[in-house]
């Protein structure tokens, strides 16, 4: 069985050196966008950023959700959650509706607004490298081990171990374990995650469930609706016919009387 890969990002170990940022640019052949990488933001040319919050750094990129909103909303199935974990995008299917951007709880997908042939752009967890058995470029470049690559199951165990062994160092929660149904990227930090710019208060269940709740009622609505419409049509038509016959009969009886 293929084991899902993932990354554990430990805020306490990150020194904000920018190695992951540069490795990502290089791996995805992206142009330079900002002289100071700490001031850069996610864009169609930047798939990962390091944000500074006082003395802490916070790295952002696609979370690679277990049940991604982008995969579920795309009308043409341009997004896929691969068995290895990465959520990938196929431009040859995309029609450019941007529902993925609208739906993503982590506000990750970016658009090539200036292009006449625009694509949705985001981190794909170095899918090509993963297929060859290599780790992601950013985790390989990380000098401190703040970004740790591995099997997702092992990473969850590792994260829990760190929280347990150093309860005074860590805020006792793993971001990405349950948020929006869980993701292939896990984050642990000394402070609550909303202080590091992460979207907090996400539902614990996968977001596509909310849509599915409504969509699963469709077959019922259609069949009951069709029956009701057919029944009402028949009833009202019959009623009109009877009314017409009665009118005719009255007329006839009147003419007979005469």
């Amino acid at each position: 069985m293929i084991k899902q890969k993932g990354m554990l990002y430990d805020v306490t170990l990150c020194v904000g050196c920018g190695s992951c940022y540069n490795a990502c640019k290089e791996q995805n052949k992206l142009p330079a966008t900002n002289k100071d990488y700490l001031k850069d933001h996610l864009s169609d040319k930047t798939f990962t950023v390091i944000e500074q919050y006082g003395e802490l750094y916070s790295r952002k990129n696609c979370m690679h959700c277990k049940e991604p909103a982008c995969v579920s909303v795309c009308p043409v199935g341009a997004f896929t959650k691969t068995e290895l974990g990465p959520v990938i995008y196929d431009v040859n299917k995309c029609i450019g509706c941007r529902y993925c951007m609208q739906a993503c709880p982590h506000k990750v997908p970016r658009y090539e607004w200036t292009s006449l042939n625009p694509r949705v752009r985001k981190c794909i967890l170095c899918y090509d490298r993963l297929k060859k058995g290599l780790p992601t470029a950013c985790s390989e470049a990380c000098p401190t081990g703040a970004t740790l690559f591995g099997d997702l199951d092992d990473l969850v165990i590792e994260a829990k171990k760190r929280l347990k062994e150093n309860p005074s160092t860590y805020y006792q929660s793993i971001y990405g374990l349950k948020d929006a149904g869980g993701s292939s990227i896990l984050v642990i930090s000394p402070v609550p995650f909303e202080q590091l710019g992460f979207t907090s208060h996400l539902p614990g269940e996968p977001l596509p469930k909310l849509t599915a709740n409504a969509m699963e009622k469709i077959p019922g609505v259609v069949s009951v609706g069709a029956l009701c419409l057919g029944g009402l049509y028949w009833l009202t038509k019959r009623k009109n016919e009877i009314a017409k016959e009665e009118r005719l009969q009255k007329k006839e009886s009147r003419s007979h009387e005469k």
């Binding site: 208060h201 909310l210 849509t211 709740n213």
Partner: protein, 391 residues
């Protein structure tokens, strides 16, 4: 007489200006891309073209299926004169909504992908299919008018045979996608303002589409009566307004029940522009029309009937804009206001729609007393043979 010609010319000039501006905007959009032509951004990927052109365009077209249900399924014969104009509006509404979508899509040439690349989990996939199928249904529903105009009784006979199943299909498809436009927003609970987010969004969208559909029937009847001097069937229109207000009240009650059950009533007390917009939506879309239309005296008065329909439609438009723009802007740091390009493309589409409606009712028997479809075929043949069909 002279005045009416002058007035007509004035509007003609305005229309031409709007269309020229719209064409220029279209040129900018398709030569320089979405970034240069719109105020959309990564933080605000859906704007006016989705919020107005799509959500409102399709919603305002709901009169087509609502009237069809009354006349052809529930067999309330007296409403039949209203069916054709409503079907025509719906057909134009859908075509224009799809045109708006062609501006909004980043890769509009790939729109046909939805036909062969399926993702059945996607609400938008469902909407796309419903809109495709329903546009076909609307075409078939309106087609008899064209056939009558060109006197083709044989094809008319075939269409007549399948008309009832087609209309039923149309009602089912409308039910699905009118509600699903609301379902589009179900997946973003944390991104939307709590006053608008609700698991009941599809229900709200459906109910408000029906009430607005009937309001649109009233609105059009008034406009075309004024322009072309055909008589106003006031009793029918006040019946429409009554149906409309019933749906508005059901919708409003559901909304209030939902807000109180989910403990969101407190948000009504936070005074901010966002809350005011919610109040405004309720005021013009619910309270004002409910006040007038609940009294028989006002309901049977031309003036109040007309203004109530305008209020219902405005309230509906504000609701869709609030759901798609206000509620999202309120929760994110990004702000959004449509660019001149976005506005002028939208205005162009509206003008084209009105112009097409005018042109079609001038040339086709849209306002004829009843659907010829309902007459026995022998009668149709007898009318279409002699040259009695007036232009």
């Amino acid at each position: 007489m002279k005045n009416s010609i002058l007035k007509f010319t004035f509007w003609k000039v305005v229309a031409v200006i709007i269309i020229v501006a719209g064409l220029y905007s279209a040129f900018i959009r398709f030569t320089q891309g979405l970034g240069a032509s719109t105020n959309l951004s990564d933080a605000f990927p859906w704007g006016l073209w989705i919020g107005f052109d799509m959500l409102c365009g399709v919603g305002l077209a709901a009169g087509g299926f609502a009237i069809c249900a009354v006349t052809h399924i529930f067999n309330v014969e007296k409403f039949k004169p209203l069916a054709r104009p409503a079907i025509l509006t719906a057909f134009l509404g859908y075509i224009l909504a799809v045109c708006g979508l062609m501006f909004d899509l980043g890769r509009p040439w790939a729109i046909w992908h939805a036909i062969i690349m399926w993702n059945t989990h996607s609400v938008m996939f469902e909407v796309a299919w419903c809109v495709m199928l329903y546009s076909t249904v609307l075409f078939l529903e309106f087609f008899p008018v064209v056939l009558e105009r060109f006197k083709l009784p044989k094809i008319l006979k075939i269409i007549k045979r399948v008309s009832i199943p087609i209309m039923m299909l149309g009602i089912l498809l409308s039910t699905l996608h009118q509600s699903s436009l609301g379902s589009l927003y179900l997946i973003m609970p944390e991104k939307m303002h709590p006053l608008w987010y609700s698991p009941l969004l599809p229900v709200f969208f459906y109910l408000s589409a029906i009430s607005t559909g009937f309001a649109m029937v009233i609105f059009e009847a008034f406009l075309s009566a004024r322009a072309y001097n055909h008589g106003l069937k006031l009793n029918l229109l006040s019946a429409c307004s009554f149906i409309s207000i019933i749906f508005i009240i059901i919708n409003f009650t559901l909304k209030i029940v939902y807000l109180s059950m989910s403990g969101k009533l407190q948000y009504l007390l936070i005074l901010s522009p966002v809350t005011y917009l919610f109040y405004l939506e309720i005021l013009i879309g619910t309270i004002v029309p409910a006040f007038f239309l609940s009294s028989r005296k006002f309901r049977e008065d031309k003036k109040y009937l007309y203004f109530s329909s305008v209020f219902i439609i405005s309230g509906f438009l504000l609701n869709r804009i609030n759901v798609s723009i206000t509620s999202l802007a309120a929760m994110s740091k990004a702000s959004y206001f449509p660019s001149i390009t976005e506005i002028s493309v939208t205005m162009m589409l509206v003008v084209i729609g009105m112009w097409a409606f005018k042109l079609i009712i001038q040339n086709f028997p849209v306002f004829s007393e009843e659907l010829e479809l309902e007459k026995p075929v022998s009668v149709i043949e007898s009318i279409s043979k002699p040259l009695t069909l007036s232009e």
